[in-house]
Point group: C2
Chain length 245, copies 2
DNA sequence: GCATCAGGTGTACGGCGTACACCCACCGGT
DNA sequence: ACCGGTGGGTGTACGCCGTACACCTGATGC
């Protein structure tokens, strides 16, 4: 009891400590489990204490986005627009892979915070100095959309979330026996033959059919490059509005 | 008091009535304001009554997605793959414009419901019968991503939501005086010159600068066509994996 | 005429975000 | 050496949320 209370030893809070704690906590328990109360408990503080540093939960999330954006590499210099954009986007993607909550927070936010605007501005800048007209840049940014953050709506993939691979340590989707899996695939093929066809590889030697591993990173780059190629074609041919097909 | 109580006259609930009421309510008050309690009140029923028809809120949302998917036009027949996809996606887009909650619900759901799978399956089917290899179809579907539902992350646009243009009737973003707007644009240009450049048109005769109206539909179709063109190029040149650029 | 049971009810619990009043340790000024 | 102010942490409380569980009730089949 000679020990000073936690409150006495605990360093003072400030906005930055709150935000980093929130980010770290979201990394651990998932964004949907992140509440003001849970965060306060993490910081050994009563919930209302947080409100001395962030106005409300919305602003907390905005602040977390700030941290996220700060982790994205600065734009590469001395390279053409295409590789500059490519590198930047892939850097953003790595950030979002480190912080799975980033994507949903980014999506949920209307996000006109300076940090976000700054990132957007610098991406636009890369296009403009790369020879895109303002008009074309505008369209191209819309086309890029959320891909500029390094993610896209992945339509097939897992519930994911940090808890999926969490406490029990298994996390794998394949806790069903091979036979059961096989049966499920069979059923899938019956009702949704086209999905089955594109999601499955050909039959193996042993006659079984297996799900093709789906390399998200490769898929992302495939789509990104497809867009970048399209952009370059428009730029090179001097695209201008009202001259579309 | 001779009037029978509301409970007596009210038609019996069933899953479908619950779902359509939920959809209509979400149209009116916005998805974030849709709660089980609010929906129950709308149906003149006690909250727990809903649970006799849907297992929980998650399943309610899944059911709402079902309704959504059902509103999308069936695939066009007798046209090439490109126009078939284009029409389908634009039909989906019209549905989501009618039901602004659709997008966020679709995004939030991991969505392996039969209705969703059915839609995806039929889109895949259009590609496959259009001459795409299974492998290429797979990639192309990933590239299409959420655009298959007719939306993309629009990075610049408004908070939106049905309440924005709600009770007070104004709803316009431009409730600030022209001078104030002008000042805000000036400030924007100062901090984010690239955003300003692509978002603003040239100066008017009178020297003022105005925000370019941003036609979301046009932007969407621009990006969609860019992707479809890319897809066609790959298909026509017999793209196969490991032979990328 | 009675049992069954689907569908509607009432109450309660544990969570959430946050308004508001408070208290206290520290500070600079006198 | 005192003292008023102030910034940061506290305690309590409110009104929402989703939903578990026990209950009631009125129609239906035998």
């Amino acid at each position: 009891m000679a020990r000073p209370s936690a409150a006495a030893t605990r360093p003072r809070l400030n906005r930055h400590r709150v935000l980093t704690a929130a980010a770290a906590l979201a990394d651990r328990i998932g964004i949907e489990a992140l509440s003001m109360r849970r965060l306060a408990q993490e910081l050994d503080v009563v919930p209302m204490a947080l409100y001395k540093h962030v106005a409300n939960k919305e602003q907390l999330l905005d602040g977390m986005v700030e941290l996220l954006v700060a982790e994205i590499d600065p734009p590469a210099t001395g390279v053409d627009w295409r590789t500059a954009i490519r590198l930047r986007v892939l850097s953003a993607r790595r950030v979002l892979l480190r912080h799975p909550w980033g994507r949903s927070v980014l999506e949920s936010r209307t996000s006109r915070t300076p940090a976000v605007l700054g990132y957007i501005d610098s991406v636009i800048g890369t296009f403009r100095t790369g020879g895109f007209s303002d008009e074309l840049t505008h369209h191209v940014m819309h086309a890029l959309g959320s891909r500029m953050w390094g993610f896209t709506q992945e339509l097939f993939d897992e519930p994911a979330g940090p808890d999926a691979s969490g406490a029990d340590g298994s996390g794998a989707d394949e806790d069903a026996s091979p036979e059961v899996q096989q049966a499920m695939l069979q059923a899938l093929a019956e009702h949704f033959p086209n999905i089955a066809a594109t999601v499955l590889t050909a039959t193996h030697d042993d006659g079984t059919v297996v799900a093709r591993g789906c390399d998200d990173q490769a898929e992302f780059e495939f789509a990104l490059d497809l867009m970048l190629d399209g952009f370059e074609r428009l730029r090179a041919t001097g695209w201008s509005p009202r001259v579309g097909h």
